[in-house]
Amino acid sequence: MGLRSAFSHFAETAAVPVFAVAGGGAREAVGRLSQSPTVELVDTPAAATILLVAGSVPPSLNPALTAVHDAMPSPRGTIHWPLGADQGELPTTPSAPPIGPSADAADAIAHVFRALLSGAVPSEQPIQPNADPNPWRGIGPYGQGGSGMTGGTPYGRPMAELAPDRDGLRLDVLPLSVGPFFPRFPVGVTLEVVMAGDVVIEGRVTDSPFIGHESSFLAGPFLRALSHPAPVAEIELARAREHLRWVSNALVTQGLPALAMRVLRLAATVTPDDATSVTALIRRVRLLRVPQWSGAGVGRLAPELLPGLGLGPVSRAAGLREDARSTDPAYLALGFEPILGHASDAAERWRLRLAEASQSLELARRAGDRRTEQTGVVESPRGRLQAHDAPFQRLQPVIPDLLAGLEWGDAVTALVSLDLDPEEAGVAAIPSARADAA
């Protein structure tokens, strides 16, 4: 059709809607990609034209990846971006050669997008067959599948009955599995909830799929510091950047994507001498009352549950003085004091992470050539990290109590404030995970 091809041609230079799956080792690169004006990362595959599979995706997530691929409307394409990892056998077939390590990802994506729209590259076929998973098989011998309160036997649907809750009537519940590619959580977090209306009745986070997934993704500065001393400046700068990236994701969760983009740009470029821009950001975020409006009183963790867990900002926001850096002579020489909060809720964790980002930049500026002096345990931005023991695994048992009774928006805010990272758990489980391949 002439009109359709005219529209296609006009749309070739539009911002490409991409659904990005940022697997192991790819989060930072995908964050940099999102800053490019040619690419627009979307929340749902129904709005996307290109599926970007970056980094290493554990094979247990392949069914979900297939579902996401088939959920995209046509014309659709897939692009693989290994980023130095071995992506293994992915269920999706790419529309173009994988993006190389030195290529400009935004350009490559725009190139494939143009080819898709102009018809040079055919739109991908769905991976799963287009068949009804539960076809109607007619009326059965016991009346099932038939008419009359459809569902067969008399009184086929239970009516409302008594329940031990405030109203005394049992409400309809919906068991739901959210993830592993839910845009507000990192890849690999699968949340299994039972909801009644908009309230979470019970919820839990499944184990990290990255554990046991051997792949060659690179270890970050915190993993490297486990085995041999690392420069304090490097570690603290990485910590500040991680905290700022968390702030960016939390801002997107609270409905402020433009401000989140600004914070992401800052996170990518901040240097130790740049502390003023971070303080300016902190002031702006607090002026807009973002932590208070979204997190005051939300996701409160009783401090009695937390001693000894070493959960980083989550523990310190509850007033617990747990920081692996306070036993490191290098930090003590710099006069390091962990920042503590008292209200153990999401707003306090916001404030704490912002304050720690400032503190980390200050430490990085004053550190000079110092190196850390303790190995075997390191304080990652999420808590105490040791080989085979990551904060994600210690957070999992705490989550069901946290989520019970929360409204969905509050539940997402609470989980985001915990800063779950299944990838860290996976890398920590691999002994000396390519620590020297940095």
Binding site: R4, F7, S8, F10, A11, T13, A14, A15, P17, Q35, P37, D43, T44, A46, A47, T49, A71, M72, P73, S74, P75, L117, D132, L174, L176, V178, F182, P183, R184, M195, G197, D198, L251, V252, T253, Q254, G255, L256, P257, A258, L259, M261, R262, R265, L288, R289, V290, W293, S294, V298, E407, W408, G409, D410, V412, T413
Partner: protein
């Protein structure tokens, strides 16, 4: 009954105004996002970018979920557009220039606003998707909470005019704009306006913590129509705010219609900026605020303006 414009002319005018307004909102929104995000702003990107994205959505083939309620899913964006058109039709541009001016114009506008919750609920429920259904539930709570503050805030503007017709309401502002006479009215109306068009801090049904909420399963033309319908609703809210609180066509040097445009664009800029700078409000807090704070404030507004008039 008053004089009405001929239906075809009225429909064409409203259609034209809606298309222009939606495009303007898209350009302003994209510009604000680029500026606040720290990127480089180019006129080409901001002006042509929305058109290219719209062309892409037109080219995409719509994909469906398993066993949706297809008629309701298709009806929802059309219903929302229709309601925005009805709401816009009651806003006057000049003393004799209005698409429709029933003597109860205020009630027509209110009925259109209240019906929005049906459109959003249908949109979320019919796609057979849990996250979309959740967005629909949230908007049910939000809509039922904002209705009374909305009606009361707008009703206060009818008091000085002693009439429910919008033209009379604007005419009564010849000497003094309602924003000055009833200082509580415009802030209240803007908050409720954001709630009606579920924009920015009150974008609960299509929220980012629901991965898009009621539009999580939308693709292609359906997505384009829903986005355009939401923008049209925001335009209608801003236009009525300009007419009811900022004095409509009254103003010194420019002709009447130009003033209406200027005031509407000013309110639009304010609402869009709020969308980019204010975080989303929790649904529990909004419901409690609407019932416990906004209703008494609106009642105080009415009592005070009535006392002043009597």
């Amino acid at each position: 009954m008053r004089d009405y414009a001929s239906p075809p002319l009225a429909l064409m005018t409203i259609g034209l105004v809606m298309v222009t307004g939606v495009y303007l909102i898209a350009v302003m929104d994209r510009s604000m996002a680029t500026l606040i995000g720290g990127g480089r702003w180019t006129l080409g990107d901001s002006a042509i970018g929305p058109l290219r994205s719209a062309a892409l959505l037109l080219v995409q083939r719509r994909r469906v979920t398993e066993r949706p309620d297809a008629p309701a899913w298709a009806l929802a964006p059309a219903l929302l557009t229709g309601l925005a058109a009805v709401a816009l039709a009651t806003v006057p541009i000049g003393p004799d220039t209005v698409a429709t001016d029933p003597s109860t114009g205020f009630v027509v506008f209110s009925a259109a606003i209240v019906f929005v919750m049906i459109a959003v609920f249908l949109h979320g429920w019919s796609s057979n998707s849990a996250l979309a259904m959740h967005g629909a539930y949230r908007f049910g709570a939000q809509a039922l909470s904002f209705q009374i503050p909305f009606l009361l805030a707008m009703l206060a503007t009818a008091l000085p005019a002693e009439s429910l017709s919008i033209v009379d309401i604007v005419n009564a502002q010849e000497s003094l704009w309602n924003v000055v006479r009833q200082p509580l009215g415009l802030p209240l109306y803007l908050v409720v306006g954001l709630a009606v068009s579920f924009w920015g801090p009150l974008n609960l049904p299509d929220a980012s913590d629901l991965a898009g909420g009621t539009s999580v399963e939308d693709s292609g033309v359906a997505r384009l129509l829903w986005t355009a319908a939401r923008a049209a609703m925001l335009l209608a809210v801003a236009a009525m705010g300009a007419a009811g609180f900022l004095g409509g066509w009254w103003g010194p040097w420019l002709p009447g219609p130009a003033w209406v445009v200027v005031k509407t664009v000013a309110l639009l800029a304010l609402l869009l900026a709020a969308g980019h700078l204010l975080p989303r409000i929790r649904i529990q807090r909004f419901v409690v605020t609407a019932w416990v704070i906004l209703i008494p404030l609106a009642l105080v507004n009415i009592f005070v303006s009535a006392a002043v008039l009597l």
